[in-house]
Symmetry: C2
Subunit: 332 residues, 2 copies
């Protein structure tokens, strides 16, 4: 708030310590290389002036930013929150700062966020959505590492760390069949990935020789309230399903609440399976059977890729399958 004259610069510190700016710079970036006594004087000068380095200038000079951009659709009730939280934590710990961008569900905003990130010369961009040709072009011309997470395309723009959504759908199908369920109702959100899982489920279900499931579509982002409409859908069906296959744990939770409010017992009268293994699913009554994506693992792989890139090392693999894991609990 106070109307400052000017923030202290490297030169101010140098003058105060009776050395050149170069020496102060060395002391800051590589203390071992300056004489002990000189370092002491510089330290004192920094304290006295309250100097905070201007990263804008430093980044410009070195042509790197130690900034990473993370692009996600939204913050609330996102399947990615756990992963994001871990990524931001790891990045901060390793001295990177994180720029966050909310893309929404469309692709329009992604382009301008990617442009903004490139404009700030971020070292890496981490994105969860599908990418436009424009993004591919922009990123291709830059030296910024592009990391797609939760996605595993054949030929990634940069690096992809994800899992096979279709396989996850298939696994769910086999699991439910093995439990003796016969009439699943599948709820899918309007997103390519959710669609892949749904397709995997349907394909496997058919391959098992079982009869065509019923289904509902919900819009993005998924909200708790969607459960009401979906449950109404379910009640309207001629033959009641024996299990509801949900695209997220949040929705699964909502379905359980609705079912119980309607006097149904879960899983006795109706099974419910979620997706994402969020913090609530293990604590719900009943606990929710779901698919776990290892957010910590993905965060680590992302960090490893960024370090590798920042150090100029080569990539052995540009597609990392972090897998998934079905967790059987009480709701099915």
């Amino acid at each position: 708030m106070s109307p400052m004259t000017r923030a202290p610069t490297l030169n101010d510190v140098a003058r105060e310590a009776n050395v050149s700016a170069a020496t102060v710079s060395r002391f800051l970036n590589n203390p071992g290389v300056v004489a002990g006594e000189t370092g002491t004087r510089i330290s004192a000068a920094i304290d006295k002036t309250g100097y905070i380095p201007n990263a804008l200038a430093g980044d410009l000079a070195t042509n790197k930013s130690r900034m990473v951009a993370v692009l996600i659709p939204c913050l609330e009730n996102s399947l990615f929150n756990d992963m994001i939280e871990r990524m931001v934590g790891e990045m901060t710990a390793s001295g990177n700062n994180v720029m966050i961008g909310l893309t929404g569900t469309g692709t329009e905003r992604t382009d301008s966020l990617v442009r903004a990130a490139l404009s700030r010369r971020v070292d890496a961009i981490i994105a969860t959505g599908t990418v436009s040709q424009n993004v591919i072009n922009m990123v291709g011309r830059s030296r910024t590492l592009f990391i797609q997470v939760w996605e595993l395309p054949e030929d990634p723009v940069g690096v992809a760390i994800g899992f096979r959504h279709e396989d996850a759908g298939r696994d769910i199908a086999r699991f439910l069949a093995s439990r003796g369920y016969l009439r699943p109702h599948v709820v899918t959100a309007e997103s390519p990935r959710a669609r892949s899982r749904r397709d995997g489920f349907f394909a496997e279900w058919e391959a098992l020789g079982l009869s065509l499931p019923t289904e509902s579509i919900t819009d993005m982002p998924t909200r708790f309230g969607h459960a009401r409409r979906v449950f109404a859908d379910v009640r309207r069906l001629a033959e009641r399903p024996d299990v509801v296959v949900c695209g997220s744990d949040l929705l699964a939770q909502g379905i359980i609440v609705e079912a119980q409010a309607a006097g149904l017992r879960v899983p006795d009268d109706l099974g419910v399976i979620g997706f994402g293994n969020n913090a609530i699913s293990g604590e719900m009554r009943p606990t929710i059977t779901t698919v776990d994506i290892d957010g910590a693992r993905i965060a680590r792989e992302v960090m490893a890729a960024i370090s590798r890139h920042q150090e100029g090392r080569e990539f052995t693999s540009r597609r990392i399958d972090a897998g998934f894991r079905l967790i059987a609990r009480d709701s099915v």
Copy 2:
């Protein structure tokens, strides 16, 4: 990924368009000032070269960054998510980029995140927690605007946009008393703000001549699972409370789940009141009575403060009370 020689610069574009770098810069920042035909040539050159301005250099030259730092304790199940989401949206729309920092519950990490933000010369820092003297010093020397949200200190470092937590606690107490409740059990998270609300509740409850409430403390961040322990606390009490006063809607939701699992009806056998009015609380069964904080309003005020600061205008008020609103629903 492709090993580029060098990203195109302003000079490359200038050469391509047969003008000086200064003119390209003008075209980019103030198109009206260059001749139409010149502009056309520059546009073509930009497209051809795939030029993306280096914001690092631009920001250094102008000494401002159009970057804003947002510091929050965590991402998952945060009371702030709605507000953050709106703020990030508004900032991006107005051409600002957002740097995000996770402070955790302690104060140690906040200092280094503030330093990183100042180092990047962000235009503003938005923080939700309490601030150390060190932060006050650092910010005081800079020209960065410091905005505290959800907080309303007597003499803010920069600008504060929040509400009176103690009053919120008092309102809850009066509301519950008016509904005839007599034995509240108060659940408070380990945070100064939660503590203020709790103190307000207790003060008002006592002022109404009612008998001392029982209470539980939970650690931060609040998780759904806390509800199990709290509910166990409740069951262990000699006299069962008639209402549980929760520090967050998430916890309220958990208490409802636990209560129902134990065969209690909400609100008939046990009332539950939350805090924060998250998206779920209006869709739960029963819907959750809670206190709404207007995240959209706070986001707007934050944006207004930033614009004012970026335009160098003065502040009439440095403390903005965004208020709160008790929403009576079915859980009480």
